[in-house]
């Protein structure tokens, strides 16, 4: 649509002044992917893990009350919605705001688990995510300072955005999208509420894909 190899066909354009929200084949694919996982988070029941008693053949299935996981589920859905916003936004600053929101909701998903190690990992991720917002907002602000606009539609294909701004955006998304590493570190996938943790991986993957599209476009 901008005569660039990454975009694909133009599917939908919605104008809000100079900010144009658009769907190309690429962003529409990301959007549908995120929407699918929101539906999964809405309909999924919490996973019931099994515990094996060491040295015997006994296996327990944990009873998990869905009421306890309401907060995690809400945060997972909110995280999905923020991801939808991030992949479909046509404005650099909106993209950074949605990415910061993904960071906040990610911590919300993890903080529902009442385990010291998990909370410690979430705390460390929170510090990384907070420092990453400096790069996110800094990148968008530097693009605004040099080009005078934040609209991806206007900047597309012109190569006006300085390299420093692009580097800042990627660094910021790296910080916010760091969550899966901390999940692996704290083994949260084995804690109660496993289906909702999926949303962290999905959002991280999608914002990385979207920021690659943005820095190749502007």
């Amino acid at each position: 649509m901008f005569n660039l190899p990454i975009e694909g066909e133009q599917l939908l354009v919605l104008e809000f002044g100079d900010i144009v929200n658009y769907f190309s084949l690429y962003t529409a694919t990301l959007f549908l992917f995120a929407a699918t996982f929101i539906i999964i988070a809405v309909i999924a029941k919490p996973e019931r893990q099994t515990d094996i008693v060491f040295g015997t053949d006994t296996v327990f299935t944990k009873e998990i009350d869905p009421e306890k996981l309401r907060f995690q589920r809400f945060m997972a859905i909110a995280c999905g919605l923020a991801t939808l916003g991030a992949v479909s936004s046509g404005d650099l600053f909106n993209f950074t705001l949605f990415t910061a929101l993904i960071g906040i909701t990610n911590i919300g998903i993890v903080a529902g688990v009442n385990n010291r190690y998990v909370l410690n990992a979430a705390y460390n991720y929170g510090i990384v995510a907070m420092t990453a917002t400096v790069f996110l907002f800094g990148g968008a602000a530097m693009a605004l300072g040099t080009c005078g606009t934040l609209s991806i539609w206007e900047l597309a294909g012109k190569g006006l955005v300085p390299l420093g701004s692009k580097v800042f955006l990627v660094l910021g998304v790296m910080g916010e999208g760091m969550a899966p590493f901390y999940i692996a570190k704290a083994e949260i996938t084995r804690a109660p509420g496993a289906p909702y943790v999926l949303m962290i991986h999905v959002s991280s993957l999608l914002i990385f894909l979207r920021v690659i599209e943005i820095i190749l476009t502007v």
């Binding site: 809000f16 002044g17 600053f93 705001l97 910061a100 929101l101 960071g103 906040i104 911590i107 919300g108 903080a111 009442n114 010291r116 909370l119 410690n120 979430a122 705390y123 929170g126 510090i127 995510a129 907070m130 420092t131 917002t133 400096v134 790069f135 907002f137 800094g138 968008a140 602000a141 530097m142 605004l144 300072g145 934040l150």
Partner: protein, 198 residues
């Protein structure tokens, strides 16, 4: 090198210094403070652009920073199992006397103003009085009302953008919603006695 680039250079040096401080700090609660410092320096990068648009970007940046700070501190309290502090309600004469006085002033000022604005101000005064002198504090009701008002306000903005012909509807929707929103915010001031002798 123009003024903007010079300022940017100085700010980036500040960012570097604060990052260095973060790397050296080992204590968790001090890390929160330094991260707040880093956020503030990050906002300076946005402020440097110094246009109307940049001014509009500072506010969401600040809100995101504050919410992340709140979230981190909550997480720290949960992580360290810190007991929540017990706060005694403040027994000061102002909280007993202020609501009727403020409400009366607002109603009189509303009648003088008259029209839409006057109605808003007078209604605000009345609701403020009833909510602060009422029999019980219904935070859930206030929060729900505030949430709906927010949604209607945004809806008004969307109508402006998508169907500009229906501007009157949009103005009325956002005007009414912002009145509700401000009223509920004001009413919260009247509920500062923590549910005691209301």
């Amino acid at each position: 090198m123009d003024f903007y680039q010079f300022g940017l250079l100085i700010t980036l040096i500040c960012v570097l210094i604060s990052f260095f401080a973060l790397f050296r700090e080992k204590d968790d609660i001090h890390k929160i403070l330094i991260v707040d410092l880093i956020e503030t320096v990050g906002l300076v990068i946005v402020c440097l652009v110094a246009t109307d648009l940049a001014e509009a970007l500072v506010l969401p940046g600040l809100v995101v920073g504050l919410s992340e700070l709140l979230m981190l501190t909550e997480l720290y309290i949960r992580k360290e199992n810190l007991p929540l502090p017990v706060v005694k309600p403040i027994k000061i004469e102002v909280m007993r006397m202020a609501p009727p006085i403020i409400a009366t002033v607002l109603v009189i000022y509303g009648i003088i103003l008259s029209g839409f604005t006057g109605g808003a101000v007078a209604g605000l005064g009345l609701v403020f009085f009833f909510l602060s002198k009422g029999y019980e504090e219904r935070f859930v009701l206030l929060e729900t009302l505030s949430g709906y008002a927010w949604a209607i306000w945004i809806l008004g903005f969307f109508i402006f953008m998508i169907i500009p012909q229906a501007w009157l509807l949009a103005v009325m929707l956002s005007g009414g919603a912002i009145l509700l929103k401000v009223t509920t915010k004001m009413a919260l001031i009247g509920t500062m006695r923590e549910g005691q002798d209301v």
